[in-house]
C-alpha cells in the first residue's frame, strides 16, 4: 500500500520519462547514477516501475517455475492458462528433451522480418526462443520476492545490477516484450526507462518492499 502510494508520487514527478515514444528505441544508454544520489523512497519507486515490467505477461509468461511450462496470460489470451499445444520446455528450458521451442518460434534474421502480426503465428525474434532460467521464477510472484531474487547472485546469473541492466539491453527476447506484435499488449514503460529504473534502484542501495 505504502509502496504503491510512493510509486504514484514518483510517477507523477517523473512519469513522462517512462512513456517513451519508441518503447525499445535504437540508442539506449546505460545511465549510471552515483551511489547515494537516489533516496530510499525513490529507489523503491524505481523498483516498483521495474516490477510493473517484470510482472507483466510479456515477461512473466516465460519466467515460470520448475514445471517448465510457459504460461499464456494477459488481455490477448482472455484467461490465464498454460501454453497451449501441451507444451513443456523441459529442464533445458529450450525444449531440447521435448519439442524445441524453436520448432515454432523460429529464429529470424532481424526483428524487421519477424512478421509477428500474423494471427496464430508463434512470435519470433532473432535469437533462440526459450524460457528464463528456473531461478528467475516471476510468474505470480510478489514484488518483494522478485526484488530479493533479482539482487541475489545465486539466482540472477551471478550478475551485478549493472550487468542485469546491460543484459536487458542485449537480450533480444527482452526487446520483443515491448514490440510483441499482433494484439499482444506490450510491456509497460520503455526499455530505456526500465534500465534507468534498475540503475536508480541500485544507486539507492537496492531497497526491497516488504510483503
Amino acid at each position: 500500500m505504502k509502496t504503491s502510494a510512493l510509486a504514484a508520487i514518483w510517477l507523477a514527478a517523473f512519469g513522462s520519462v517512462a512513456l517513451a515514444a519508441e518503447p525499445v528505441g535504437t540508442d539506449r544508454v546505460l545511465n549510471e547514477f552515483a551511489e547515494g544520489s537516489v533516496s530510499f523512497e525513490e529507489g523503491l519507486a524505481n523498483w516498483q516501475l521495474f516490477y510493473d515490467v517484470a510482472s507483466h505477461p510479456r515477461c512473466s509468461n516465460c519466467h515460470v517455475g520448475a514445471d517448465n511450462r510457459p504460461m499464456w496470460s494477459g488481455p490477448s489470451y482472455g484467461r490465464t492458462r498454460p501454453h497451449g499445444m501441451n507444451i513443456n520446455a523441459g529442464e533445458s528450458r529450450i525444449g531440447a528433451e521435448t519439442l524445441l521451442c524453436s520448432t515454432c518460434h523460429t529464429d529470424v534474421e532481424g526483428m524487421a522480418s519477424a512478421s509477428n502480426d500474423r494471427p496464430h503465428a508463434a512470435p519470433r525474434v532473432s535469437m533462440t526462443w526459450q524460457l528464463a532460467p528456473v531461478e528467475a521464477e516471476w510468474f505470480g510472484k510478489s514484488s518483494a520476492y522478485v526484488c530479493e531474487q533479482l539482487k541475489d547472485p545465486e539466482r540472477n546469473g551471478n550478475r551485478t545490477i549493472k550487468e542485469v541492466a546491460a543484459h536487458l539491453d542485449h537480450d533480444l527476447i527482452l526487446h520483443w516484450a515491448w514490440e510483441p506484435g499482433g494484439n499482444r499488449e506490450p510491456a509497460p514503460h520503455s526499455l530505456q526507462a526500465t534500465m534507468d529504473a534498475l540503475m536508480k534502484w541500485a544507486a539507492a542501495g537496492t531497497p526491497c518492499p516488504t510483503e
Binding site: D67, G84, M85, N86, N88, G90, E97, T98, L99, H120
Partner: protein, 746 residues
C-alpha cells in the same frame, strides 16, 4: 480355405455370372452383381477383368475403392489382389476408381446388425445377409467401421484369381498351349518352354473372352505377400513430402474459396456485411451458401483474410447454448420412455441389487473433434453436361448422388476423383464441404473451385464425437463380481449422420450401447440399457464410434466392482470371460506385461478389455505418479483379428489407435459456449506429445474364424486402461474425460 458359400455370397463377380445364395426374401435383384464400372472408359485395347483389375498400355492398375486415410488401405487392398494375380506390388499402380455399386461394403452390415459378433447363429447370419443387401442397395461404398480388410479379404483375392485365370485362358487361346500347362508369376504367363507373355500383351485377348470365374483361392501356405511386412505404396512419397493430399491438389484454372458458416452449428444466417471484404486484394466473388457465405479469391490465404473481414448476424443454435444444457439432457434421459435397447438382461439384476450393498457411479464422456491434420477441402467443377469432384472422402457414392441431385445432372455424369487423405478418423464420412463447393461452383460454371476450410472453421464445424453419460450400479459377493447394471445415455450418432444424407435410421441405433452390451463376460446378473437422448449438437462417427465412450464406461465400472470385491483386476476379468478367444487376449497382455510383478512405489498397472467391431482387444497401461504428475510408462496390447495381413502396418495401426485413445482421454474435449465450440485449434485441443508417448508393445492373435479390421478396436480400451492404472497408482478414480481435469500428466 474360405467356405465356398461365403465367397459366393460375398464376392462380386462380373459378366453374366449370377451370384448364388439369395436367401432373404425380396432380395433377388440386389443379389445380382452390378455393372463393371471399368468398362465405361477403357482404352480400345485395354481389359477390365473384374472391377478391380485394369490392364492397358499403361500397365496393370489395381482398383482399391476403400480410401486411404493413412491406415494403408490402398497398399493392403493392392496386396490382396496381387497375391492371387501373381504380380509384384512395385509392378502395379493403384487407383481408387470411381464410385460404383460394384464396390459396396459387405462387412459394414455386421456392425449395424443387433447381434454380438461372437454370435454366429443362423439368425445372426441371416440378418447380416439382409443388411448386406441393404448396404448394396444403398451403394454404401464406405470406408469405415474397420471393415476394409474383412470386406476385401475374399473379394479382392477372388478378383485377383479371376483375372489371373482369365489371362491364362487368353494365353492359351493365343498359343494353343492348354491352360493346365501354364503358370503365372511376376506379372507374366509362363509357357512350358520358359518363354513369358506379359499381362499387358495379353490384355487385348483377355478383353474379348469370357472371364474365368470358377477359381480356387490359394492356401495361406502358398502366400507370397499376405502375412509379411510390405513396403507401403505411399511411404516414400510421404516420407519425402511429395505425396499430394487432397488439400494439395490443383486443377488448371482453379480459383480458391473458403466459407464462413454460422458458428452455431446449423443455425441460420440472418444477414452479413461484406463491404470491407469486397475490395480486398485478390477477392473475386462473395456468394451465399447454405448457412453462410463463400468467398472466392485468387489464393486461399486471401480468401481467408476476406472471410475474416466480414461481419455477420447469426441465428441461434438449434441445441442448448451452454454445456449445462447438454449434460442435463443426458441426465434426464435415464427413463423408461427413452430406452433405445436393453440388449442384455441376464439373471435378476433388480433382486441382486436389492440384496447386496450397491456400488454406484456416474461416468461422462465429452464431445470430441476429429481434427485431422489435413483440414477438409474439395475441388468442384460444374459445367452444363458434367461435374467433377476432387476430394479426400470416405463416401464417394454419397458424394456422387448429392452432387447429381444439386446440379440436376445424371449420376454417371458426376465424376468423383478420390484423393489421398491426411487423417480422417471419421471426419470425411461427411460431405458438407463438397455441397458448399458445388453451391459456389454452380455460380461459376466451368471454373474449378477449390474450397478449403481454415483450421478454425474446420474445428468449429466438425460434427464431433457423441457426448455420453453412463450410470452404473453393481454388487460383489464372496470376492467376485455378482451384479452389473449399466445404463448409457447419448444422442443417436447414426441418426444425426444419416440425417445429413436425407436417410432415416431403420430400427434402434446400435451404437448407443456398442462396446458395452456385447462384452463376453458371464456376470451372474448383468444388464445393459441404452437410452436415447434427444438430438443435441450434430454429431458424427469418430474412430470407434459408440465404443469410444462406452468402452471407457463399461470397463472402468467393471474395474470398480472388481476392486470392491478385492479381486485381482486381470484374474477376475479372465474368470468372468466365457469367450475363449477373448480370454486369450487377456492372458496375452497378462503375459506381455508380466502382470503381478512389482512395479515399485508410486506406480500402477491397469488393464481394460473391449470387444468392438468383432475384435477382442485387451490393453495394460503402466503409469508412475511422479512429483510433476502422471507419467505413462508402457502399454501392452493384444487383439484378436483372425488374420494379420501385414504385421508392420498392423503394429502401426494399433499403436496409432492407442495414442489416439490415450491422447484424447488425457487432454481433449469440445465444449459449447453461446452455442459455439470453444476449441478452435490445436492449442486448445491438445494431442499427446512425443515425449509423453509410452513404449507400446503389440501382439496380434489369429485364433478367430473370421478376419477382422484393426483401425478402431485399439481405441476403446485405451482410456479405461489408463484410468484403471491411475487408480492403481494413486487411489484416485477418474470417471470423466478429459482426465487432466483431475490429474496432471508429465
Amino acid at each position: 480355405m474360405g467356405r465356398a458359400a461365403t465367397i459366393a455370397r460375398r464376392t462380386f463377380l462380373i459378366g453374366s455370372i449370377a451370384v448364388a445364395g439369395g436367401v432373404a426374401f425380396g432380395t433377388y435383384m440386389y443379389r445380382r452383381p452390378g455393372e463393371n464400372p471399368l468398362m465405361t472408359d477403357l482404352s480400345a485395347d485395354g481389359a477390365a477383368i473384374t472391377p478391380y483389375v485394369r490392364i492397358d498400355a499403361e500397365g496393370v492398375t489395381l482398383i482399391t475403392p476403400r480410401t486411404d486415410l493413412g491406415q494403408g488401405a490402398y497398399s493392403m487392398q493392392a496386396a490382396l489382389i496381387a497375391e492371387e494375380l501373381d504380380i509384384e506390388l512395385d509392378q502395379v499402380k493403384v487407383d481408387p476408381g470411381r464410385p460404383s455399386p460394384a464396390y459396396y461394403n459387405t462387412a459394414l452390415s455386421e456392425e449395424g446388425a443387433p447381434f454380438r459378433s461372437t454370435d454366429d447363429s443362423f439368425m445372426a447370419e441371416s440378418v447380416r445377409g439382409v443388411m448386406d443387401v441393404l448396404m448394396k442397395f444403398l451403394g454404401m461404398q464406405v470406408t469405415g467401421g474397420s471393415t476394409s480388410v474383412p470386406d476385401g479379404y475374399n473379394k479382392l483375392r477372388m478378383a485377383g484369381a479371376v483375372a489371373r485365370e482369365t489371362l491364362k485362358a487368353a494365353a492359351s487361346q493365343q498359343t494353343g498351349v492348354p491352360v493346365s500347362q501354364l503358370k503365372t508369376g511376376n506379372g507374366t504367363v509362363l509357357m512350358p518352354d520358359g518363354t513369358t507373355l506379359t499381362y499387358m500383351a495379353l490384355a487385348p485377348v483377355a478383353a474379348k473372352i469370357k472371364p474365368v470365374t470358377n477359381v480356387e483361392l490359394r492356401d495361406p501356405s502358398e502366400w507370397r505377400l499376405i502375412g509379411k511386412p510390405m513396403q507401403r505404396h505411399d511411404i516414400v512419397a510421404k516420407s519425402t513430402g511429395t505425396l499430394p493430399y487432397g488439400v494439395d491438389f490443383r486443377v488448371d484454372g482453379m480459383v480458391y474459396a473458403t466459407v464462413k458458416l454460422n458458428p452455431r452449428q446449423g443455425g441460420a444466417m440472418n444477414g452479413y456485411d461484406a463491404s470491407a471484404a469486397k475490395t480486398m486484394r485478390g477477392v473475386k466473388q462473395i456468394v451465399p451458401v447454405s448457412g453462410g457465405v463463400g468467398v472466392v479469391a485468387d489464393n486461399t490465404w486471401r480468401a481467408f483474410q476476406a472471410a475474416d473481414a466480414m461481419t455477420f448476424d447469426w441465428g441461434e443454435a438449434p441445441y442448448p447454448a451452454e454445456m449445462d444444457g447438454h449434460w442435463e439432457a443426458l441426465s434426464n434421459s435415464f427413463n423408461d420412455d427413452q430406452i433405445e435397447a436393453r440388449n442384455r438382461d441376464d439373471g435378476d439384476v433388480e433382486a441382486a441389487l436389492a440384496e447386496g450393498e450397491v456400488i454406484a457411479a456416474e461416468y461422462r464422456a465429452p464431445y470430441l473433434a476429429h481434427a485431422p491434420l489435413e483440414p477438409i477441402s474439395a475441388i468442384v467443377r460444374v459445367t452444363d453436361d458434367r461435374a467433377d469432384v476432387w476430394t479426400g472422402t470416405q463416401i464417394p457414392r454419397f458424394v456422387q448422388s448429392n452432387v447429381a441431385r444439386m446440379t440436376g445432372l445424371d449420376a454417371e455424369d458426376v465424376h468423383i476423383h478420390v484423393l489421398y487423405v491426411g487423417g480422417s478418423f471419421g471426419h470425411r464420412l461427411e460431405d458438407e464441404v463438397v455441397k458448399q463447393a458445388v453451391e459456389i461452383a454452380r455460380q461459376m460454371k466451368g471454373t474449378p473451385v477449390k474450397l478449403v476450410y481454415s483450421r478454425e472453421e474446420d474445428m468449429i464445424h466438425d460434427f464431433p464425437r457423441q457426448i455420453a453419460m453412463a450410470r452404473g450400479q453393481g454388487t460383489v459377493k464372496d470376492g467376485k463380481v455378482e451384479a452389473y447394471d449399466l445404463g448409457i445415455a447419448m444422442p443417436s450418432v447414426i441418426a444425426s449422420q444419416m440425417g445429413r444424407q436425407n436417410l432415416s435410421l431403420p430400427g434402434p441405433d446400435t451404437q448407443i450401447i456398442a462396446g458395452a452390451w456385447d462384452q463376453p463376460f458371464a456376470i451372474p446378473h448383468y444388464r445393459m440399457t441404452g437410452y436415447r437422448a434427444p438430438a443435441l449438437a450434430p454429431i458424427s462417427s469418430w474412430r470407434s464410434v459408440g465404443a469410444s465412450s462406452n468402452g471407457f464406461f463399461h470397463d472402468c465400472f467393471l474395474d470398480e466392482l472388481i476392486v470392491a470385491a478385492g479381486a485381482d483386476p486381470l484374474e477376475e476379468r479372465i474368470r468372468l470371460m466365457w469367450h475363449d478367444n477373448s480370454r486369450k487376449v487377456l492372458e496375452a497382455v497378462g503375459e506381455m506385461s508380466n502382470w503381478g510383478s512389482d512395479l515399485g512405489p508410486k506406480s500402477g498397472r491397469g488393464v481394460a478389455f473391449c470387444m468392438s467391431f468383432g475384435v477382442s482387444t485387451a490393453e495394460v497401461v503402466e503409469v508412475t505418479d511422479t512429483d510433476d504428475g502422471i507419467r505413462i510408462d508402457k502399454v501392452y496390447v493384444a487383439a484378436e483379428v483372425g488374420r494379420v495381413i501385414d504385421p508392420v502396418n498392423f503394429d502401426n495401426l494399433v499403436k496409432g489407435g492407442v495414442i489416439w485413445g490415450l491422447g484424447h482421454a488425457m487432454n481433449c474435449e469440445i465444449t459449447y459456449s453461446d452455442g459455439v465450440a470453444e476449441q478452435t485449434n490445436f492449442h486448445a485441443f491438445e494431442g499427446m506429445r512425443l515425449y509423453q508417448c509410452p513404449q507400446i508393445e503389440v501382439r496380434g492373435l489369429e485364433n478367430g474364424e473370421k478376419i477382422r479390421g484393426i483401425g478402431e478396436p485399439p481405441v476403446p480400451p485405451a482410456a479405461p486402461a489408463l484410468a484403471n492404472a491411475i487408480y492403481a497408482a494413486t487411489g484416485k478414480r477418474i470417471r470423466e474425460m478429459p482426465f487432466n481435469k483431475h490429474v496432471d500428466f508429465v
